[in-house]
Amino acid sequence: MYSEKVMNHFTNPRNMGDMENPDGKAQVGNPTCGDIMEIAIKVEDNRISDIRFKTFGCGAAVATSSMVTEMAKGKTLEEAEQLTNKTVAEALDGLPPVKMHCSNLAADALHKAIQDYREKQKKEG
């Protein structure tokens, strides 16, 4: 039911874990629907220099989280904001149709973490 790429990211998730003093952080989803994703970022010179995720959810939720961190790492904030759930799913060679709602979370979480960073910057600035 899952592509090899999904299983690869599920088995060996990239950038999984906690981050000390992140520059931006966000959590999306809720436990009722069975998917929660948390993304933390470090930003240097307007680029995502480091990124970490934690996920409670199905195989697709874990794989999309892992994939979005890999895709976002090293990108400028503007480039990272262009990533969508669709591009994440495509990078994983697709997801089963019923799983498409899981992949929405990955890009959402990333965008919210960037938003969190920008708001913090405003306050500090």
């Binding site: 088995t11 874990g17 629907c33 069975g34 948390e38 409670f56 959810g57 199905c58 195989g59 874990v62």
Partner: protein
Amino acid sequence: MKSVYMDNGATTRTHPEVLKAMEPYFLENYGNPSSVHSFGRDALQGIEKAREQVRKLINARDPQEIIFTSGGTESDNLAIIGFAMANRKKGKHIITSAIEHHGVLHPCEYLEKEMGFSVTYLPVDKTGMVAVEDFQKAIREDTIMASIMMGNNEIGTVQPIKELAEASKDRGVVFHTDAVQAVGNMPVDVQDLGIDMLSLSAHKFHGPKGVGALFVRKGIKLHPHMHGGAQEKNRRGSTHNTTGIIGLGKAAEIAGKNLPEKVEKITRLRDKLIQGIEENIDEIVFNGHREKRLPGNVNFCFRYIEGESLLLSLDLEGIAASSGSACTSGSLDPSHVLLATGLSHEVAHGSLRLTLSLFNEEEEVDYIIERLPGIVDKLRQMSPLYQSKRK
């Protein structure tokens, strides 16, 4: 890699003796059992032998009380819709429970929506048990039937069927039980239990898939739902699934042999698995009833993790299991059974069902006890819920 099959609640391995019994009905006795010639007569003879084998397993009085169907879901549909439509002039109220298989729940919902019936869905306690008192109170003047499952497919809870059937009889209510998980896996005696109708399925006890039976006590009227043939005494039209029926009969015969000893062996493995999980993993919820339980059923929720991730991780270790998480139920909600026992969505999403059969060995139980804690820990390390709980 090791390969451990512990999803026997989903389906079982076909017993080699069952396959052997079926083979001649593909290659030699392949006639239509409704035909006049010798090919047909041989097939019919096989079918009637199977009917007797099934009768014996559940201790029905008469083989003619057994109707062959395509499986558990069809048996449930025939019992509920068939009985309701044939008896609707007597009343239009049905009692069932919140934790039935969808094979019972959906026909009940259909009768409610399309045929003007009213249905009472009895709640269960946190062990998944229906209260006999609630059942008695739910019986009304217009109640014509009740359907309460014998052993729950997810959490294994075995209901007080004898008491429920007795309460039904007292008030002239026909009592059906979905015994798909129970028959062949624990002793079931329709006469001792006082059951009027019972659904069973071959592939849950080492028979082939696509065949089952409905026991209907003599004198109970049903409308057929398959029209177009006089098979099964006009109760279920369609050419007999001869090979499947032969397989069901053989599986019933094998299941009935030394059943108490087999139940004891599986129960011992089950209890070892339950104990091993409870001793090695914390933050878990035991689902179902400790004693009144199907012999092969183990069901836990592991807090902070999600069931499908757990199944994928187990599968990578060669372990086949199932879950009541939303991702595996095909909807956005986790198992209706787990929710009915009072679990939150969050906890219910992290359920794991391991179901044993006679083909499981103790070393397989040991293997799961060895691997499961590491898998659960890895997924918890990944979970933001576990993290916030530790803070």
